[in-house]
Symmetry: C2
Subunit: 233 residues, 2 copies
Amino acid sequence: MVSTHPLVVPSPPAPTGRRLTAAERERQIVEGAIAYFAEVGLDGQTRELARRLGIAQPLLFRYFPTKAALIERIYEEVYLKRWDAGWEATVRDPSLPCLERFRRFEIDYQRTIDNYAWLRIFVSAGLKGFDLPSRYLGMVRARIFTPLLTDMRAESRLPSPEDQPLAADEYELLFGIHGALVYVGLRSLVYGIDGGVDRDAVRAAMLDAALPGLLATHRRVVAARRETAASGA
Amino acid sequence: MVSTHPLVVPSPPAPTGRRLTAAERERQIVEGAIAYFAEVGLDGQTRELARRLGIAQPLLFRYFPTKAALIERIYEEVYLKRWDAGWEATVRDPSLPCLERFRRFEIDYQRTIDNYAWLRIFVSAGLKGFDLPSRYLGMVRARIFTPLLTDMRAESRLPSPEDQPLAADEYELLFGIHGALVYVGLRSLVYGIDGGVDRDAVRAAMLDAALPGLLATHRRVVAARRETAASGA
DNA sequence: TCCTCTCTTGAGCGAACGATCAACAAGGGC
DNA sequence: GCCCTTGTTGATCGTTCGCTCAAGAGAGGA
């Protein structure tokens, strides 16, 4: 009587083969959570997530003690795990001029973050006041932009950061170009404007337009600061 | 017995003088809602909003039939009302070179949108799939960038848009610089990185760096497209 | 002084939220 | 075949959501 009653299920239940191993199920949950929270934001509902996975909602809490723990796992999966150590090597590669290092880094980096889940969860976390975005961009600043600016100083025969610390407006030079490239993805994946353009090509063109003048601008910025410091002293 | 019992109130209740006129109360609610939803996102709670205003929650529904209606009102207040018709005049001002028009527009525009509520509600709306961001940026594209690109064509003695329609990559030239300027505010007001810089000054410096090469790049882009079109025909 | 208009509130509805727990059922070892 | 381990679920708890409704209370005219 109780067993296998042919009851009509109210919601589309099981796109997944049941009784997975723990590892398989956990992976399925993580991937589904990334896709789901990217779509609806980090305050999406665990019930709806479970429904999309075709599993019961309590099963989520078997694998993650709390919703916050699941979100923490998403951070590791989407941001920390996709951080490419090669980026840090590229921007320090002494065999390349600094501008070429920057170009190669940005093209690689943007290809990584120009991703529905990456950008939307990043922004959603920022709005919710989580420190992921500031921590992540702090990493970009420290591990990418600092060594790059240091070598740009050397390449332009400017004082080393030891003699004259890197200033905020020098970082802004890089963040400016960086931000223009990020904005291409934001317009499409967060604001929902398709535009129908090849975003990789657009960013390559933007780099072509912005990079040639960068070293000269950098020299001007550093020189201006030296004058200010000299007149101030 | 019932009247004015000296009961301790559980939450800080009334920073506002009670019994306002309808117009005053409505204004207070709108301003409070802008600040509140900017802080916590558009799925903030009406109860918490009321608590911050020092009023009872049902009072919100006296002035706005639904939460969606209140949000719609926020759109009008923050985006439509702050749209400056002078921007459209600036970018068509025949007495100024196009680059100067663009600079003046961006400096004015960015000063308007570099605002906690403006940026955060804009992004929050984008994440929630509302069409405000795409509609608004469509307005920027049509009312600002189109006339600007049209006159840039003329200033560079290039074919008019009637003979050769404005192409996506021409718009991207302007959106690229535009996005770099917007990103300055996003980093601070959405991602929570203060940086301690004068964002107006940073943007002015970015314009100084980006504008000089813009016309030449524009000519190159248009020329490239003409070749493609010619070889394709 | 009292009445009336209207701004304002306390109490509460149905639904949905994150999270819990005991019971069910699919495998693999014996 | 049996049983024990473990992946999985239905039912449900306490809370909070947007929203409603009838009653309270201040201000102005008579």
